[in-house]
């Protein structure tokens, strides 16, 4: 049996690798994409351009402004002196943020009355706006603390002490880069498997395969294993880059990660082969791969949390293998999650994998033109 399966695997690899273009699309893009996306996909902001409208021009206002302009997060673009300057600066996207300090600022501060700081933020991307607001709040809190200490200000009755577990400095990259590992692994396995049967169907060679002594199970194995091998190798490579290039800490154990990876590949290959076995032409296969891939990436919790989705869409994500793998890979990387905690993520992937594989095997024989 193994001889036949191995022969088939060899043939599959030949089909994938003999063409230089096809070889390149499988190997180079994932690595390139990891590097580019790893740098691009971050919610953390840098060099936020802002303008200052300082009507007070006092020692205190200058102190506050310098806390912004000295921070690497902010980049002071201009000082404005009139109300009419505000709207065009924001409208034209010259700045994201305008800080306005009223004429009474230092007087109110020194007399102990307390004062306001006005900020105007471009909300076209409201998430960015909220992040900017948060940065502003952090700087202002520091300023307040210093002012209170230096000017005998009455201390507030209660203080907040916020700590974050697992990602202490709230680095966006720690969240996104492990996610990219899952994302690219899915893309590669889909590319390898989704067209593998469809292409042979279109070229008529699949019927030839069916009349060989290969049993359906062996055929399935021969079609699944190349994707599996490529998936494991590529995922390992990507994980290594995440660890050593992007310095994402891998805190959990590799066993928990690789159980998840194997099950994830199983389910991804299952879906890919199912699509492929259903498709009569490559075009249909590709379309199917696309229709599966795009929603499973967008609705996986990769960039936007599943918890924010409406209940119905949340239910739909239960069919998405990537959703489970996202939890596994982030759990192992950051939360040191052991195998036992991840069981709830493992079994749905195993289930999706087995059902889709069996369906694919059935369609190998029963779907004919």
């Amino acid at each position: 049996m193994w001889r036949r399966v191995i022969a088939l695997i060899k043939k599959e690899f030949l089909a994938l690798m003999k063409d230089k273009k096809s070889r390149l699309t499988i190997i180079i893009p994932p690595i390139l994409q990891l590097l580019i996306f790893g740098y691009a996909a971050t919610y953390d902001l840098e060099r936020v351009r802002f303008a200052v409208y300082d009507e007070d021009r006092s020692h205190a206002s200058r102190d506050l402004i310098s806390r912004f302009s000295c921070s690497p997060t902010f980049h002071l673009v201009s000082h404005i002196t009139r109300d009419e300057h505000i709207a065009p600066l924001i409208d034209n996207k010259n700045v994201l943020l305008i800080i306005r300090i009223g004429p009474q600022f230092s007087r109110d501060l020194l007399t102990g009355r307390g004062t306001d700081l006005q900020v105007i933020i471009d909300g076209r991307n409201s998430n960015t706006a909220l992040i900017v607001l948060n940065y502003v709040r952090t700087i202002l809190t520091d300023f307040n603390m210093d002012w209170m200490a230096r000017h005998n200000w009455p201390t507030p009755p209660a203080n907040l002490y916020i700590r974050s577990w697992y990602n202490e400095n709230l680095e966006s990259r720690w969240f996104i880069v492990p996610g990219i590992v899952g994302l690219l692994t899915l893309v590669v396995t889909m590319l390898v498997t989704a067209l593998s049967v469809a292409r042979e169907r279109e070229q008529g060679t699949f019927d030839q395969l069916l009349v060989t002594p290969l049993r359906p199970f062996e055929l399935l194995l021969g079609k699944a294993l190349p994707g599996f091998i490529i998936g494991i190798v590529e995922a390992t490579l990507i994980i290594l880059i995440a660890m050593f290039w992007f310095d994402i800490p891998l805190r959990g154990n590799l066993l928990a990660l690789y159980i998840g990876l194997v099950l994830f590949l199983l389910s991804a290959i299952g879906v890919g082969l199912m699509i492929s076995s259903l498709a009569l032409t490559q075009q249909q296969g590709l379309m199917g791969a696309f229709i599966f891939l795009v929603p499973s990436v967008i609705l996986s919790g990769f960039t936007t949390p599943i918890a924010n989705m409406p209940v119905l869409v949340q239910k739909l994500t239960l069919f998405n293998p990537l959703r489970y793998f996202m939890v596994v890979i982030r759990g192992v990387f950051l939360e040191e999650a052991p195998v036992t905690v991840l069981l709830d993520q493992y079994w749905p992937m195993a289930l999706i994998g087995s059902i889709t594989m069996l369906t694919a095997a059935w369609f190998f024989r029963h779907r004919t033109t």
């Binding site: 936020v48 409208d91 102990g112 306001d116 409201s126 709040r137 209660a158 907040l160 929603p295 609705l299």
Partner: protein
């Protein structure tokens, strides 16, 4: 060589012949589309389905975040503080008696954070010598959500101590209070920017799929060569391919825009016609990119792979759809300049939310035009050369 010469001669025979040949090709393409309705499904059905699914599914507004509230010794003050969490739409507090249990819930993802008031909280608060500590632990893995949640917590804390100060008849408790205004989206509703962005992401896919698959199929089956041996010029073949799919694509585009406005309630503050004309430009670049991919790949397998790799993920991650482009490293920022979706998303977010800001619209529309010319020009160039 002969063909080329012939083509050139025929080209010179006037615009009447060109129009006639073009009409013929367009008619052929339309017939092909009608016979195989899959491209109609791609153009109309898919954008609508995807927008419905994603428009509802993609949101960055963290609401009803489950948090464990641990109060070791309750009093009037702890009650007024925890009531603030209960009434806030951002939180879904779960009252847990021990910190140990709360930590377990955090580890098991049952809650996303812990608010911990130690047994001496009320006592310290009453004596007033030092601030009473409110300890907050968040699950920081999803740093963006954690940051939002920490902002909400700070908001609740600020109003609470403000009220406390007022009750006790003392003055404002912070030297400087933050007054913020978020323009164009004062409700800070993430769908207002995500749904227009989705239109760009979805139409990138549709445009590339429509042309990439269809043209490469023609190459693969050899019918492209057959077409080229006719007097029809390459320019006309390509135009003949673009026009029908452009018409189809515009249909899909208008449908998604309509959904954005009427179903997802994104305000359209700019002009509808600017939206339509920039959409047309964008669709042209998306089709051009698909055409280019299929011209260089010349086989469906590779064209399909390339379409997946170079369209969807870049449009999703490098376009400013979610992630701010200006915070990316310079090299990555340079790469984003060849992503058409980047310009279109900038236009969409501005036209929808801010209005007709010409200083944003014109440069971005110009960039789209340049990209369209480059992609279409390259496709033509590549098709020509290979015939020799």
């Amino acid at each position: 060589m002969n063909n080329k010469e012939q083509g050139k001669n025929l080209n010179q025979s006037g615009s009447g012949a060109t129009a006639m040949r073009l009409r013929g090709i367009v008619r052929k393409e339309f017939l092909q589309i009608m016979r195989d309705p899959s491209s109609i499904a791609i153009a109309f059905l898919m954008p609508v389905l995807l927008l419905l699914l994603f428009g509802y599914g993609v949101s960055l507004d963290a609401e009803h975040v489950p948090v464990a509230v641990v109060v070791e010794h309750s009093s009037v003050h702890t009650a007024s503080l925890t009531a603030k969490f209960s009434t806030s739409r951002y939180f879904e507090p779960v009252f847990i008696t021990s910190l140990q249990e709360a930590k377990q819930a955090l580890i098991n993802h049952k809650v996303d954070g812990i608010i911990y008031l130690k047994s001496d909280f009320s006592r310290i608060l009453k004596t007033g010598y030092e601030p009473a500590p409110i300890q907050v632990i968040l699950n920081g893995v999803d740093s963006n959500t954690a940051r939002l949640v920490s902002g909400y917590v700070q908001g609740i804390w600020a109003t609470w101590i403000e009220e406390l100060a007022r009750e006790q008849g003392s003055r404002a408790s912070m030297p400087v209070n933050l007054q913020h205004r978020i323009w164009f989206n004062s409700q800070v509703r993430s769908q207002n920017f995500l749904v227009p962005g989705l239109v760009a992401v979805i139409m990138t896919l549709i445009g590339a799929l429509l042309t990439a698959m269809i043209v490469s199929r023609e190459w693969e089956r050899g019918t492209m060569e057959a077409l080229m041996s006719t007097p029809v010029a390459i320019r006309e073949i390509l135009l003949g391919k673009i026009i029908p799919y452009f018409v189809l694509g515009m249909g899909g585009m208008l449908l998604t825009v309509a959904l954005t406005v009427w179903l997802f309630d994104v305000p359209l503050r700019g002009s509808f016609w600017i939206l339509v004309s920039t959409s047309a430009l964008f669709l042209l670049t998306a089709l051009g990119m698909g055409l280019f991919i299929s011209t260089i790949a010349r086989n469906q397998f590779i064209a399909g792979q390339a379409a997946i790799i170079v369209t969807f993920l870049p449009a999703f991650l490098l376009s400013g759809f979610i992630f701010d482009i200006e915070s990316m490293p310079a090299l990555v920022q340079a790469i984003t300049h060849i992503i058409a979706a980047r310009y279109f998303i900038m236009i969409l977010q501005t036209v929808f939310l801010a209005g007709n800001v010409w200083s944003v619209i014109i440069p971005n529309a110009f960039a789209l035009l340049v990209l369209a010319i480059i992609f279409l020009g390259l496709s033509r160039f590549k098709s020509y050369k290979r015939l020799d």
